[in-house]
């Protein structure tokens, strides 16, 4: 009992020492607490979640139809495309690009019409001066957006023309309906001659309508074939079948006989045709009511998250920043701890005294864990009240994750402390850990972008577990993922064991 009490006293000896040593450095505490808070604050203020605007210069011959089109449409294509003008000289445009006066040069195809007629795609050539692969991707995306826009304009123009033609068709249908009405009137009066003349005109107009509607219906049909339809039959099928039935209506096709006593059969057939023409007109009106833009771009995407809240980039990064910074603080403070005592010779005192390596390490773990937890607590309070840090999950789970991250990170720090020969070596190793964490933890790059075997590094880092766990708790409102949490604790226990074995070796006799 007495030896257990003595062991507790020895283990606790580090607690007061480590805490007091750190408290004697108020600037260090200020840096540890305010540093991360200010980083997040500045990031929140400074980060703009908007795509970069690109100053774009077009190269086109003045007499080219595309030059006119560019002049007309380019300034309004996208807020990210800042129209810097049109020039004819490609070399001059590229010179401006290399001097940084513009970000993008778009060279329009010279003989687009002829190229297309020759069954080839006309090319817009995009020049940029980017070296960042991400920016190159963005520029290429923007260029593709521009070309898509040009293609849309062409298709839209075709659709508009089709709709304009549909107006003529409607006039033909109205005329055909008038013919049908005149036919009916003539037949009611027994005037077969007049009725026949009207029939000929009506059939001629129905044939014309049939040709025109075929083209317009093709547009809708293209859409229907690609995506299917819920209507049965579809509108364009309706129109085509109406026309076919009108054309096959015996009343329309058979010449009206002169001299019959009554024409009731012909009159019914004509009424039927009148009705179909009215229906056809109605459907054409529907077709015309669809804007050309909808016809050429019938679909658009709307993304909706099932998450209860939407987050700003700084809110999204908050869990990662908290974990990364706490990991760094824990690693750095622990890394300097034992190496400093080894260098100063204090470890020699420990070797002669009754304190064991386990008591030494445990004492240091507990004191640094409490110290880092205090720092974490103040930081979280500042973030919660100062930056309105999102928290959908449980604070208990959140605290458990932070403690586990600190436990595992201290293990990394103590391991560094036992491997490093000097304090500067320890700081360098800590910085390497920070770099590893930034690149491999998913903090900057999504883990899915990493090659599978390389993810072993990611999942060796406490920050990877901590970030994923905190994102789930804070941003998704989920409970503790026990597998990830267990992984984090396992890493911590492994590092504690390794550190203890190494310290035991260093504290044993040489």
């Amino acid at each position: 009992m007495n030896s257990l009490l003595q062991s507790l006293i020895r283990t606790s000896s580090f607690f007061r020492k480590e805490i007091v040593e750190v408290i004697r450095q108020p600037r260090l505490i200020l840096t540890l607490v305010l540093g991360p808070f200010l980083i997040l604050l500045l990031f929140g203020i400074g980060y703009r979640n908007e795509p970069r605007a690109v100053r774009t210069l077009f190269v086109a011959r003045q007499d080219s139809p595309l030059a006119q089109q560019v002049q007309e449409y380019a300034p309004n294509i996208s807020p990210q495309l800042i129209f810097s003008g049109i020039v004819e000289d490609e070399a001059a445009a590229l010179s401006e690009l290399s001097q940084g006066d513009v970000d993008l040069v778009v060279v329009t195809p010279n003989q687009a019409y002829e190229t297309i007629r020759n069954n080839q795609q006309a090319e817009f050539v995009l020049y940029h001066n980017e070296i960042d692969p991400a920016q190159i991707g963005y520029i290429e995306y923007l260029g593709q957006t521009y070309v898509n826009e040009v293609n849309r304009l062409v298709l839209s123009s075709i659709a508009q023309q089709g709709q304009s033609e549909a107006t003529d068709v409607r006039q033909d249908i109205q005329a055909a309906r008038e013919n049908a009405a005149a036919m009916k009137q003539a037949l009611s009066a027994g005037d077969a001659i007049t009725a026949r003349a009207q029939q000929a005109q009506m059939l001629q107009r129905i044939s014309a309508v049939s040709l025109a509607v075929g083209a317009s219906a093709g547009l809708l049909s293209g859409v229907q074939q690609n995506v299917g339809t819920e209507a049965n039959p579809s509108p364009e099928q309706d129109m085509l079948s109406l026309l076919a039935s009108m054309q096959s209506n015996p009343g329309n096709n058979q010449e009206i006989q002169v001299g019959k006593s009554e024409y009731s059969q012909e009159i019914r057939e004509i009424e039927e045709t009148e009705q179909k023409l009215a229906e056809l007109e109605e459907k054409l009106a529907e077709f015309q009511s669809i804007t050309p833009d909808v016809l050429v771009r019938p679909f658009r995407a709307i993304s909706k998250s099932i998450s209860p809240l939407q987050f700003t980039p700084s809110e999204f990064f908050t869990p990662g920043v908290i974990v990364l910074l706490l990991q760094h603080i824990a690693i750095t403070t622990a890394a300097l701890s034992i190496v400093r005592e080894r260098r100063s010779g204090a470890i020699e005192l420990f070797r002669v005294s009754p304190i064991s390596s386990m008591e030494t390490l445990l004492g240091k773990y507990v004191s640094y864990l409490i110290f880092c937890a205090l720092i974490a607590g103040i930081l979280v309070l500042l973030l919660a009240f100062g930056l309105r840090m999102p928290m959908l999950g449980s604070w208990v789970d959140f605290s458990a994750v932070l403690l586990a991250v600190l436990f595992a990170s201290l293990g990394v720090g103590f391991l560094i402390s036992l491997l490093a020969d000097t304090e500067s070596h320890a700081v360098q190793l800590s910085m390497i850990m920070l770099l590893l964490s930034v690149f491999f933890s998913g903090f900057m790059l999504d883990l899915r972008y990493l090659w599978q075997p390389v993810r072993v590094i990611s999942w060796s880092l406490p920050v990877t577990y901590g970030t994923t766990l905190l994102q789930n708790i804070m941003l998704r409102g989920r409970g503790l993922d026990w597998i990830l949490f267990g992984g984090l604790i396992a890493i911590g226990i492994f590092l504690f064991t390794i550190s203890w074995l190494m310290l035991r070796r260093k504290m044993s006799h040489e």
Binding site: S12, R24, L349, V352, P354, H509
Partner: protein, 333 residues
């Protein structure tokens, strides 16, 4: 004095027993076949120039190093098998200041007390007592980085004593300290010895051998001799040294007669002021005989007194005399 006698006769109460203790680092032999014993309740001084193997020896005795060859027993146990209980009986003051500059004097001492598992109850009183002993109590609230080097050494000493160890190893405790403070520190050591503690002290200051009960002289990893300070002097000069001052110059013939006396050893040196320095077997018996010899020859002997040579000279003489001899085995009485 009793302790000295006990050592000479080979008493059984040893705090440290080393036998053919050797420590090798690679090809370099840091300590070569040291054999000595330290009686309990004494101050054992380990004297030698820098790099002679003093710190290696102290590390072997405290269990920091394991011997390559030979064996050592400290308080009845080999140091590399010390239990925590045994470690609690030992105090160790390293050569350099290794405590924490951002802690106050009191906090550093408190930390040292905790390292030894000292109970919280009564600890304050013990800390105060130790700080008063090293005269640092008025400075207890000062940060260590703000106190002088001498005060830091005294704090190290206080940290070594805070758990009341039986056996105290002090590695050059007076290194780089002014003579007044050195004297004060040795006074502390003597006080500790009076309280029954055993002290094993290494030092580069040969003069400090005078404060010790036993002195081991190290050179090039070898223990040249272990003896009391008085014995060391005798071993260095071949006996006691006596200065004989006469009223007038004496003839070469008389000097030759003097040299032939049976109790006179070695050559006679002529010093300024008609003073003749000679080495004798035993100063206490030689002094009256020398006076009588002068009277018989009508030589006016103005004074005869034993000369106590400074330990710097003793050390140089010993290293010259014994340096070439192999080991220290057999040197001890």
């Amino acid at each position: 004095m009793q302790a000295k006698q006990r050592n000479i006769v080979g008493g059984s109460e040893w705090a440290v027993e080393a036998s053919r203790l050797t420590k090798q680092f690679g090809d370099e032999i840091a300590v070569n076949e040291l054999s000595f014993q330290v009686p309990k309740g004494t101050i054992f001084g380990f004297i030698g120039p820098s790099g002679s193997g003093k710190t290696t020896t102290i590390r072997l005795l405290t269990g920091i190093y394991s011997p390559t060859e030979g064996k050592v027993v400290v308080l009845g146990s080999p140091p590399n098998k010390f239990s925590p209980f045994m470690r609690g009986k030992i105090g160790y003051m390293p050569q350099l200041f290794v405590l924490y500059p951002d802690l106050s004097v009191w906090e550093n001492l408190n930390f040292s007390a905790s390292l030894y598992g000292q109970a919280l109850f009564g600890r304050k009183k013990q800390l105060k007592s130790v700080l008063e002993f090293v005269e640092l109590y008025p400075h207890r609230n000062k940060l260590v980085r703000n106190i002088s080097g001498g005060m830091q050494r005294r704090l190290s000493l206080a940290s070594t004593l805070v758990h009341r160890p039986e056996l105290i190893f002090l590695d050059e405790p007076t290194g780089g300290i002014d003579p007044v403070l050195r004297r004060k520190i040795w006074d502390h050591f003597r006080e500790l010895r009076e309280h029954g503690r055993t002290l094993f002290v290494t030092t580069q200051y040969v003069g400090e051998a005078a404060y010790c009960d036993y002195v081991g002289v190290m050179a090039n990893g070898r223990l040249l001799i272990v003896a009391t300070p008085e014995e060391l002097r005798r071993r260095a000069f071949g006996g006691d040294v006596i200065d004989l001052q006469t009223g007038e110059d004496i003839s070469w013939n008389h000097i030759a007669q003097l040299q032939k006396l049976p109790f006179v050893r070695g050559r006679i040196s002529l010093l300024p002021g008609r003073t003749y320095r000679l080495t004798v077997d035993n100063a206490s018996t030689a002094l009256p005989e020398l006076i009588q010899w002068g009277q018989e020859r009508n030589i006016n002997v103005e004074s005869t007194k034993e000369y106590i040579p400074p330990f710097d000279d003793v050390f140089v003489a010993l290293v010259q005399n014994l340096g070439d001899e192999n080991g220290s085995q057999g040197e001890k009485e």
